[in-house]
């Protein structure tokens, strides 16, 4: 699935779109095409990838968060985009130590709001969408984020008013 020509075209396209000061790292593994991207460039690059010929990455498949507590930039966010035209899956990786004001893709793909809500509830990462208490995925007590590594696996807590806001 990851053809070298497709990978190089996408890399060249993204290289022109990012801001000049920040570089990116390309992980061209045999199975996945991964690009590490700066949080400031994420929304712009995703919008261009969605709307530009011949790429048309029309689908946001998934957003995943991973916690590495021993690293400086603790949280790694993995965005998976899919292009029907190229039959190609692209992973945009974002590393950050910040927990608030992260870039949100809700203006480009509405499903991103749902996935970001889930990450907010489970990891405590707040995205810059119009966020309020009502929009939480679960309503959990403050500062209890179960999927972080400092939260013990055997602990119990009560999730009050489990009203999903998808």
């Amino acid at each position: 699935m990851c053809e070298p020509e497709t990978i190089s075209r996408i890399n060249n396209f993204i290289e022109k779109k990012i801001s000049g000061q920040h570089s990116y790292i390309v992980h061209s593994q045999s199975t996945d095409h991964r690009i590490e991207i700066n949080p400031m460039d994420l929304v712009r690059v995703c919008r261009e990838l969605k709307n530009t010929d011949p790429f048309y990455f029309l689908r946001l498949a998934d957003i995943t968060a991973v916690d590495f507590p021993k690293k400086d930039k603790r949280f790694h966010l993995n965005y998976v985009l899919y292009s029907f035209k190229l039959n190609h899956r692209l992973h945009l990786k974002l590393t950050t130590g910040r927990e608030k004001d992260l870039p949100s893709l809700g203006g480009i793909w509405p499903i991103a709001e749902t996935l970001e809500n889930e990450i907010t509830a489970l990891f405590g990462l707040f995205f810059s969408q119009k966020f309020s208490r009502k929009n939480r995925f679960f309503k959990i007590k403050n500062s209890i984020y179960p999927l972080r590594k400092d939260f013990p696996a055997g602990a119990r807590f009560r999730a009050n008013n489990c009203k999903y806001n998808l």
Partner: protein
């Protein structure tokens, strides 16, 4: 008059797409607000079925993960195991015997058929078509009894493992599968004639719950619901795994993206799955390899561990520590009966995953259903939700 402590207000309804199964019972409630007889807004009340599977799997070894993965999906749990096994095998760079790939194809199609017939049973009961519901229940019983012969119990299962299968298939499995295919083939036409082509179903489902292609893509919808909008996208064709590359089958596609198209596509997929099973059964030999040969991933057989010291040591190590995976990341998608199911595994070089994320197809489908429900009556809303085939075990995890 509404008081402060009143739990349910007068103009709110709660719809629970409950099939009475162990992962879906009472765990996904659509809270519908009515204005007269039409729905003005809808949201989801859930989380009762949240078992913390992703967190728990960070504390379990890779070879202990199977029972947890199966809990995400009550009718096609083996496909979760398949996706997990494919992801781990790619990280380990393992080569699987061809016979195992063919058997995995047959088993995943069997679960796809079971899941679709289960959905058909549920939607027929909701529309009070009990004749069709009775027919589908007979078929489901036959599939379950075949799976019981294969793995020893009904319901959740544990047959596909990393490196191969749990054990070799029995000598009767292939003939039982071909009998089941003949039986299902005979039942499909009467069901289509009595239920799907009937005036009642067509009148209720045509132009109901129409979703445009752009909206479906924006909401991340996959599977039959996306194919109903006109996109011929199936993971088995675009990103083939197991033995799907060598098989010939069609991908049914709709036009309007309404409830009628979604239902017809699922029904046609049953037909295609039976076709796939017929082709795959010819490629499976009754005897042969059923797991990879190194002995370091799966527990070796009794004969080997009794006769060889090395096999005995591997047996002890696998039971005590499991196997380790070198550091890396993988995103493995497969085609489940509801859409694109994917596993994202971050391996830290240990015998336990650092992060294991399941991308459920039902989450996007739930979002799609919530967008479509306002403006309809409660009965039509129930039909729209059922047409997406939502599994609460996947949404809540």
């Amino acid at each position: 008059m509404k008081t402060k402590n009143q739990k349910y207000s007068e103009n709110k309804l709660y719809y629970n797409p409950d099939r009475g199964e162990f992962t879906s019972r009472g765990n996904l409630l659509f809270e519908i607000t009515l204005g007269g007889n039409t729905i003005t807004s809808c949201c989801l009340r859930g989380g009762n079925n949240h078992r913390g599977i992703e967190k728990i799997l960070e504390t379990k070894r890779y070879n202990q993960a199977y029972p947890w993965l199966v809990k995400c999906d009550d009718r096609a749990g083996e496909i979760n195991n398949l996706a997990f096994s494919l992801a781990v095998e790619t990280l380990l760079d393992l080569k699987i015997p061809d016979r195992v790939s063919w058997i995995r194809t047959v088993i995943s199609e069997l679960y796809r058929i079971s899941s679709h017939f289960n959905w058909l049973n549920f939607i027929a009961k909701n529309l009070e078509e009990y004749f069709t519901a009775g027919r589908t229940e007979k078929i489901i019983c036959r599939i379950e009894s075949l799976l019981q012969k294969l793995k020893g119990r009904r319901g959740s299962c544990n047959f596909i493992r990393v490196g191969g299968l749990r054990e070799n298939i029995s000598s009767n499995f292939l003939s039982d599968c071909s009998h089941l295919i003949k039986y299902c083939d005979k039942q499909l036409n009467p069901i289509k004639k009595d239920f799907l082509n009937s005036d009642i179903f067509t009148a209720r489902s045509r132009s109901l719950g129409e979703i445009s292609l752009e909206k479906a893509l924006d909401l991340g919808i996959t599977g039959p619901a996306l194919r109903a909008c006109g996109v011929e996208h199936d993971m088995r064709k675009t990103d083939p795994y197991c033995s799907y590359e060598e098989l010939e089958f069609a991908v049914p596609v709709g036009e309007n993206g309404d409830v009628h198209d979604r239902c017809l596509i699922r029904f046609e997929e049953i037909n295609q799955s039976l076709n796939i099973m017929k082709q795959s059964l010819q490629e499976i030999s009754p005897a042969g390899a059923w797991q990879e040969n190194s002995g370091k991933i799966n527990i070796p057989s009794k004969e080997k561990s009794n006769s060889s010291t090395e096999a005995l040591i591997h047996h002890y190590k696998l039971c005590r520590e499991g196997f380790k995976i070198p550091a890396g990341e993988i995103y493995q998608p497969v085609e489940s009966p509801r859409g694109e199911l994917a596993f994202f595994i971050v391996a830290g070089g240990d015998n336990k995953p650092h992060r294991l994320h399941i991308r459920p197809p039902s989450l996007a489908a739930t979002r799609g259903a919530i967008e479509l429900i306002p403006g309809n009556t409660p009965e039509d809303a129930a039909l729209i939700v059922d047409s997406f085939d939502i599994n609460s075990g996947e949404v809540n995890r």
